[in-house]
Symmetry: C2
Subunit: 531 residues, 2 copies
Amino acid sequence: MRRFVANRLVKTAAAASLFSSNKTTTTTTSSTPLLSRFLTSSPPPNPIMPSHSITLDFINPKVIECEYAVRGEIVNLAQKLQQELVDKPGSHPFDEILYCNIGNPQSLNQQPITFFREVLALCDHPAILDKSETQGLFSADSIERAWQILDQIPGRATGAYSHSQGIKGLRDTIAAGIEARDGFPADPNDLFLTDGASPAVHMMMQLLISSKNDGILCPIPQYPLYSASIALHGGTLVPYYLDEATGWGLEISELKRQLEDAKSKGVTVKALVVINPGNPTGQVLAEENQRDIVEFCKAEGLVLLADEVYQENVYVSEKKFHSFKKVSRSMGYGDKDIPLVSFQSVSKGYHGECGKRGGYMEVTGFSPEIREQIYKVASVNLCSNISGQILASLVMSPPKVGDESYESYTAEKDGILSSLARRAKTLEDAFNGLEGITCNKAEGAMYLFPRLHLPEKAIKAAESAKTAPDAFYARRLLNATGIVVVPGSGFRQVPGTWHIRCTILPPEDKIPAIVERLTEFHKGFMNEFRD
Amino acid sequence: MRRFVANRLVKTAAAASLFSSNKTTTTTTSSTPLLSRFLTSSPPPNPIMPSHSITLDFINPKVIECEYAVRGEIVNLAQKLQQELVDKPGSHPFDEILYCNIGNPQSLNQQPITFFREVLALCDHPAILDKSETQGLFSADSIERAWQILDQIPGRATGAYSHSQGIKGLRDTIAAGIEARDGFPADPNDLFLTDGASPAVHMMMQLLISSKNDGILCPIPQYPLYSASIALHGGTLVPYYLDEATGWGLEISELKRQLEDAKSKGVTVKALVVINPGNPTGQVLAEENQRDIVEFCKAEGLVLLADEVYQENVYVSEKKFHSFKKVSRSMGYGDKDIPLVSFQSVSKGYHGECGKRGGYMEVTGFSPEIREQIYKVASVNLCSNISGQILASLVMSPPKVGDESYESYTAEKDGILSSLARRAKTLEDAFNGLEGITCNKAEGAMYLFPRLHLPEKAIKAAESAKTAPDAFYARRLLNATGIVVVPGSGFRQVPGTWHIRCTILPPEDKIPAIVERLTEFHKGFMNEFRD
């Protein structure tokens, strides 16, 4: 056997070095499995598996069902084109890929907030805190803040697992930040710090969904984390449609209709997801509307899952962000009255620290027994990363008037937010200036979700290409211009309507070129397909 | 309604401020729900929910079933005692809590590796990289490494989401580290960087388990992450018992017996979990044994899930760590022959960077279609935290001979590992010196798992206290000495045997006191309960 094994080694090592993740072909075959079976005295292989590798029917069908368009097919194509531009400059009619597919500001050159990064660096390497050179490199308040934070961590150990809900002192800071924002008390014991908001959403879905009979009301269009998480946990997404005609309005009558419809199908609706400001739709809810939503959840006994990660991203003076907790407390509802979870993230806002994976959920209105279950699930993963925890505390407690960093912090923050507002307006106007495209106002968040009123001929062409019309458009746009957007079908939409999601994040100096390329492409597209 | 609401506000705000996570009583009642129902025109509440809060039957029973002892009941008691020591010094017969329950080295004063923290700090705040003061604060090779890493990150943006498998350049570095360790090629496309090893384990369980009919072979005793994850995903844990009499030996005959037993119950076994070095058992597998395990998985068509997070933690000269990938490749099996996942973490080893939540899994032997599914699941959470990713690359590529930090790095590393070896031996000897306790050799990992041969009277006393005998012992130990260990029942064990898991992590200068307190307690315990 040894000799045979040695021969095989040469062959398979070569095969392994050729193997490359999602790009490998499956044609390689080998005679070894049969021989191997012949040579061992073990029982025959498990009949559900082919001899050389397990196949798709081996794995959880819920995983196969799940979809996540933000990093899907179009993005894979973009990465391929990007590589081609490197390998063969001039091979495409553009010289760079412009990623407008994902809310990832720092990948598009947005700079981090200096104060936040100073504190993180000092907490990573506290040994330099009392060195004299450090005074020259770091602001005085970042040094002071780092000391404060370290003093909140048992043993000042930023490399230790923390409490599974997050470091208590940091939760105190965040709770104070929520109180300052809302004007209502917040309890640090209600906070669960997480690696970004996504794991928090998964945790709640895991808690609420036990089978296909459990439903979660989700806006359509929705951020595909929700459909993916519901699919992975084997539940039912109960859609409610936002009304594009009224600026993506959320109608209570629609909620009621869909809830009744789900009930009639034997689905127990457990929770209502609201994304405010909206993703991918960019609207900001009016407070009156939020009150109606709270009443609806209260009356129907639903958990309100409030995705509030874009709370800092409001670009129009006539709208303001109000947390659902503030709204429900201002209506007089206390902790016992309504189960409410608010998700927040360090990835969005003006800071955009996506790579740091920080965030939290504020969990109110659950009984102690259920909280214990949430705590248990959190504890299985031990804790979220400490840098992300620290950053979450900084985001909810930035420099204040009088702090050395206050002025630079404010300048950085205002610079980013005002630029985002300008970019949103420019792109919104650009879309609205195109034949057959209508685009609602970008009131908040980081996205536009323009509707494509495509000519019949384009829809037919998409059909022939076996793809959704909006995916067809997005693919054409990418191939022609290097601009990456996500087809609306990845977010779901009213059947028969077509959209794309386009972020407002490319650097401001690139926006004119994007508008130009987009306009030129769109004209050509319409000329090609106009009915 | 306004006035009523204002009244209620006062009441509930006060109630909210009293509310405190896992400690709240459920006795508070309020008349508001009925009134609220009366005041709104909404339909009556969902009949499965009580009017003031949802109850346990509202949530996923899989969550309720799941257990995680490492942060369970005994730890909650420890935290309570710790608070009592603060509030009322002298209230207990000890003055500090000694946490021997969790592999969390830096919480027990282990210092981080300086080079690693230097690089992390510089990557967090790259603005200081070219300042002159930085030269005085950081080693030359940490500055150079930070530049290298930043150059591997598109746009040097450490605050951006990365590729969902992790930053490509960092995966290249890790793959090179694996190659250097194993002497066989590693492909960066096979690596999925994760927030510690736990999310990677969950990802694989999610992939492999679709129902109670899907089984995962797990060692008993096991690290409760596995039982928790299998429970959360609704699968069946198929136990195989490690043989305590042969130093926690892993017998293939036992694997076969349990596999056949599971099959006869209609369970399809999908994978075999092996933890090497062992947790909680501390054994290191012999290479010959590993070869047999590989042949078993190959013959039975099982996915081999190799938990190799303690690969740096081997304390005896007669044993060496060999990765399962190295073993399978040295047997001549190539990528197509055996589906194998190796888990690695930055939390263990000599570095013990638990709070940084870094790790990876190396996924080999799966078809491209399945890899695509794994990629999709990874992409739903976007990416793992970048500091953790950077740290994973540092762990797999530490300073080399000639680098400025090499000497200090080696001194720090060797100091930690040799101290751990001494602590392991001292505690092992101490346990073996106690009446009715036997303890296998601590060959590796961070734990001892001594067996308690408890007197019948103690077992009866535990029964009267409605608790497992080992939990009874652990609780007594904690109340008498402040030493926190985890009862063996949290890891499962041969029925009728009782154990505790005790880490070897307390600072070396505290070990004598721990041994003394433990010995004294144990004598008293035996005197009290001796048959």
